[in-house]
């Protein structure tokens, strides 16, 4: 192993959080290196308009995603099962390379509700302790919505998020989401233009007494220059968003929002195709000395640094902490230990509507974030008392695409191949719409992450083991939500509505969502969290953790907006407090 000259900061992973951290800290004058497992990728050469809209290459063959051969997990539903390796990623698809999952996302950019942050105290206060699901381990976040608001705002401005405010400093705004937390400012760009499905949803939802509003999206609706001076061009509604890199500089990503300025900084360096294998600790175990990584030629390097920032995908941040022996592994039998605790996911389901042949949805003129929403059944907006569950979901009517291979909706009962299937495909094409939901997923004592006792990666390190299932509370919540989506679909004029309820057990095969949360959660005490409220590790104060692994439980929204806000929240603390007293904990345990 060769030892390299010391840097001020080493960043593990160059996606959303890594690029933002790198840019802000390099601007502050620190010498920063980012080490990224995958390849360099940029819009001009990798997401070129001549080649980008290739469904087979990107959506089916998953060109830009992580390969199981690089890293995978073992999975099981309950602690008494034997976990087996995921040999083809299905339920979730982690990104690979510079930009990470920030390249291939759809761009739904939400703020969690204020009550999502003080969740436990809020629910106990309103419904009593006994109303919480059995064995749930939900807890309050160590930060409040009010504290995060300026950081949500700045992340939205970096991205150029399109949308319509519903609550400007407490004043309800027509056309926006009346249930959202207060906003200090309007969205940076106006909402995308609705397609037919969004207009039908808006009308139907309004008639049902709901409060529809346009989906806040990282697909900019107009030309935009962000606070870093990076420019974006308006979305062209090409329908190649999720699972693709954007060729039009319209989808917010590290590539389109941060890297053009980051790469100009002479005190920043990116090392790609290099995988960090370990965070190194000083003999006392209380200080990180840097990282060890392996480059594409298999050579091992030690990169010393004063500050180590974990900015990989949430699951892999957790695993790297485990492999480095930082923190105490959670044990579901005793409830002791925090690393790997409170893993949660997302509970998505919805209804599909079949319309008559004169209704042409033209979803191909779509965008990842082209949607109309309603939050009337999200969070604790509605009284849960009569329903016997906690949590909720947003209702969504999106037109993301009508790509030719995957967009083959046929009515129930149609054969899966042959002349009947072809006939049904032709009859149905362009006449269906979906009302879906992003549902909350709360934490439970037996849903967690740890190292697998059997399976190892190519470097001989144990794979991480995921133990997870959808619990009765979440399934009950989702059934309630699906019934609501069906009501809206009926009101939209569908001639047939098919309800697709969420059913257990959780299955690794069909794609569901890449919203894996928890495992290295933030909290107020070392007994219930891995990092403190500034995302600083309780045991090793010069290690900071980013990403959705910080969430104590997941809300009824996509996580990226909150991940971005937490990144700027942590940066504020690092720049203004930590660096004045480096190596010291910012919260006394």
């Amino acid at each position: 192993m060769s030892r390299l000259p010391k840097k001020d900061v080493v960043i593990i992973g160059l996606g959303w959080t890594g690029s933002i951290m790198a840019h802000e800290l390099a601007q502050a004058g620190l010498d920063v290196v980012a080490i990224e497992r995958g390849p360099w990728r940029d819009t001009a050469s990798d997401y070129n308009i001549g080649t980008a809209p290739d469904e087979l290459r990107y959506a089916i063959r998953q060109d830009i995603f992580l390969r199981p051969a690089q890293e995978t997990l073992t999975a099981r539903n309950t602690p008494d099962q034997v976990a087996l390796p995921i040999r083809k990623y299905g339920s979730f698809l982690p990104g690979n390379g510079v930009g990470g999952a920030g390249v291939h996302w759809n761009g739904h950019t939400w703020r969690f509700m204020p009550t999502d942050f003080n969740l436990r105290s809020h629910l106990v206060g309103r419904y009593g302790e006994g109303f919480l699901p059995e064995h749930s381990t939900i807890q309050d976040w160590p930060v409040s919505y009010d504290e995060l608001e300026p950081h949500y705002d700045f992340f939205e401005k970096v991205c150029g998020i399109s949308g319509k405010a519903g609550n400007l400093r407490g004043a309800t705004q027509a056309g926006g989401n009346p249930f959202e937390g207060w906003r200090s400012d309007e969205y940076p760009t106006p909402p995308l233009k609705p397609n037919l499905a969004q207009n039908l949803f808006h009308k139907a939802a309004t008639e049902l007494g709901l409060h529809p509003f346009p989906l806040p999206g990282a697909n900019v609706s107009t030309a935009y220059t962000n606070p870093y001076g990076v420019r974006m061009a308006p979305c062209t509604y090409c329908g190649f968003c999720e699972w693709f890199g954007c060729a039009n500089y319209s989808k917010s990503s590290p590539q389109t929002c941060v890297l053009p300025v980051l790469m100009r900084q002479t005190n920043f360096e990116a090392r790609t195709l290099s995988e960090v294998t370990k965070i190194n600790l000083a003999p006392d175990g209380k200080t990180a000395t840097g990282v060890t990584y392996v480059d594409s030629a298999g050579r091992e390097w030690e990169q010393p640094a004063d500050l180590v920032l974990l900015c990989a995908y949430s699951l892999f941040n957790v695993r790297l902490l485990m492999l480095s022996g930082i923190g105490t592994q959670y044990d579901p039998a005793t409830g002791k230990g925090t690393l790997g605790r409170n893993y949660a996911y997302q509970t998505n389901a919805g209804s599909l509507g079949y319309f008559d042949k004169d209704t042409h949805f033209n979803h191909f003129a779509g965008a990842g974030s082209l949607g109309m929403m309603a939050d009337d059944f999200n969070g604790d907006v509605f009284d849960h008392g009569p329903h016997g569950f906690i949590g909720g979901a947003n209702l969504a009517c999106n037109s993301t695409n009508a790509r030719p291979i995957s967009s083959r909706v046929v009515p129930p009962g149609t054969p899966r191949w042959g002349a009947q299937w072809k006939k049904a495909t032709v009859e149905t094409a362009n006449h269906t719409a979906n009302v879906g939901s992003q549902g909350s997923s709360y934490s439970y004592r037996d849903c967690y992450l740890d190292l697998d006792p059997t399976y190892k990666d190519p470097l001989g390190r144990p794979l991480m083991r995921m133990t997870f299932d959808f619990k009765e509370n979440e399934l009950k919540m989702s059934r309630f939500i699906v019934d609501r989506t069906a009501e809206v679909m009926q009101a939209m004029g569908a001639k047939q509505v098919v309800k697709n309820y969420k059913r257990g057990p959780w299955d690794v095969v069909p794609y569901q969502t890449t919203h894996n949360t928890g495992g290295a959660v933030m909290g107020n005490t070392p007994e219930d969290s891995v990092v403190n409220r500034y995302t600083q590790h309780w045991d090793v104060p010069n290690v900071f953790v980013s990403g959705a692994c910080l969430f104590p439980q997941n809300a009824g929204y996509n996580p990226t907006g909150t991940v971005g806000a937490l990144t700027y929240w942590a940066l504020d603390a690092i720049k203004n407090r930590y660096l004045k007293n480096p190596g010291q904990p910012m919260v006394q345990a």
């Binding site: 070129n48 308009i49 001549g50 080649t51 990076v230 420019r231 061009a233 100009r264 660096l579």
Partner: protein, 411 residues
């Protein structure tokens, strides 16, 4: 952090201690002035060394007469210009001659640098001497016969070169004269933007009316409204030179290097002076040809290609996206008589320049692989004759020849 600051201080001290061998400490003002003159002269674009930082030269510059290697102008005694005296340097800049009396080739723009004063040349040399010497031996004899005979340049100079310092026009404003000095002197704009005669000399009667080079076409920059910059406001010219991007266009190809290494680092006053000079020095261009009719089959075919291939970024009405995707409507760059520029960009694609104020640097993708010669010709004809543009139609044969040009110049 503290250690980094300490290291930086040590480096500064070290460079100052070593400086006695190069720039005198009291020579700082002179060297700083020289540094800015090397920005004005865009020395880096040609002399950039293999390290990407120094002026150690070494790469091959493409000319119509063959490839010419660019010399090392760092103060290395053996491989650079470390042994040159101030007289030697002035003689090169002013007369195009090397210390041994042999001729330089006019790929080194002494035809423009001759307008610079002795004092300016001394300042440039003071700056070059203040930089670290980089050892990089460059083979200077890369031109083929007969152009490798340097004595030929004596005759060339007799025909094409009049040495002499810049003389301001007292009838004109100080800004105009500053602009004239910058454009005709250190900036050597005419090296690319003036068409060449058969032996590579300037066609003086067509000064700054646009010239072909390196498989690109440097457009007309006279004040002609149809082909030149007559339709550009002073502010737009300044913004283009400073950032490389305006609503109308984005600097790419060889001009991207000019913006990156030179104009983006010029003072606002100098950029303004250049704009004033170019706008006031007069217009010249051939008369407009009639636009090709929208009913022409080539236009109809080109419109279909445009809708499928170009409209997503450049928009159906050719408006483009401000600061990102160039406007094609009423755009001088697409309607130059010579379609080299538009064909190069369509067939090969192009990366625009990144500057501090416009760091995004969007790229035009290569479409040569999915358009055949007829389709590429038709879409070029359509763009050149729509939305206020009028220019000679493009033929499939021109596209075929451009493919050969592009094939010789990958990436």
């Amino acid at each position: 952090m503290r250690r980094a600051a300490l290291l930086a201080a040590t480096l500064v001290a070290a460079s100052m201690a070593g400086g006695t061998a190069r720039a005198e400490p009291d020579n700082y003002t002179e060297a700083a002035r020289g540094r800015y003159l090397t920005v004005l002269g865009d020395c880096m674009a040609c002399h950039i060394g293999p390290d990407g930082q120094s002026l150690a030269g070494g790469h091959l510059l493409e000319t119509p007469f063959g490839k010419i290697s660019v010399p090392n102008i760092t103060p290395d005694n053996d491989t650079g210009i470390g042994r040159w005296t101030a007289d030697d340097f002035h003689n090169a800049m002013h007369n195009g001659k090397r210390p041994d009396g042999t001729h330089l080739y006019p790929a080194f723009p002494y035809t423009s640098f001759t307008r610079m004063s002795r004092a300016d040349n001394d300042a440039v040399l003071a700056y070059l001497r203040s930089r670290p010497a980089v050892e990089n031996r460059v083979d200077r004899d890369t031109l083929p016969f007969p152009f490798n005979i340097r004595l030929l340049m004596a005759g060339w100079n007799w025909l094409n070169f009049t040495p002499g310092e810049f003389r301001p026009d007292p009838q004109r404003s100080a800004e105009f004269n500053r602009g004239a000095y910058l454009v005709e002197g250190p900036g050597h704009c005419g090296l690319c933007h003036t068409p060449r005669n058969l032996i590579g000399g300037d066609r003086d009667s067509e000064h700054l009316q646009g010239g072909a080079l390196q498989g690109w076409f440097a457009p007309n920059i006279t004040a002609d409204a149809r082909l030149g910059i007559g339709d550009w406001s002073q502010e737009e010219i300044v913004a283009y030179l400073r950032t490389g991007h305006t609503d109308r266009t984005a600097a790419s190809g060889p001009m991207a290097e000019v913006v990156a290494y030179s104009t983006s680092q010029m003072t606002e006053e100098d950029l303004k002076a250049i704009a004033i000079y170019l706008r006031e020095r007069g217009a010249a261009a051939p008369p407009a040809p009639p636009a090709v009719s929208a009913e022409d089959p080539r236009m109809r075919a080109g419109e279909a290609v445009y809708a499928d291939t170009c409209a997503a970024c450049h928009v159906g009405n050719g408006s483009g996206v401000a600061g990102m995707f160039p406007r094609l409507a009423n755009n001088q760059l697409v309607r130059q008589d010579d379609p080299t520029g538009i064909l190069r960009v369509v067939l090969q694609g192009s990366r625009s320049v990144a500057t501090p104020e416009a760091p995004t640097a969007p790229a035009m993708p290569s479409l040569g692989w999915r358009l055949n010669d007829q389709q590429a010709a038709d879409v070029a004809t359509y763009i050149r004759n729509s939305w206020g543009n009028a220019a000679p139609p493009v033929t499939p044969d021109q596209v075929r020849k451009m493919r050969e040009v592009v094939a010789d110049r990958p990436g």
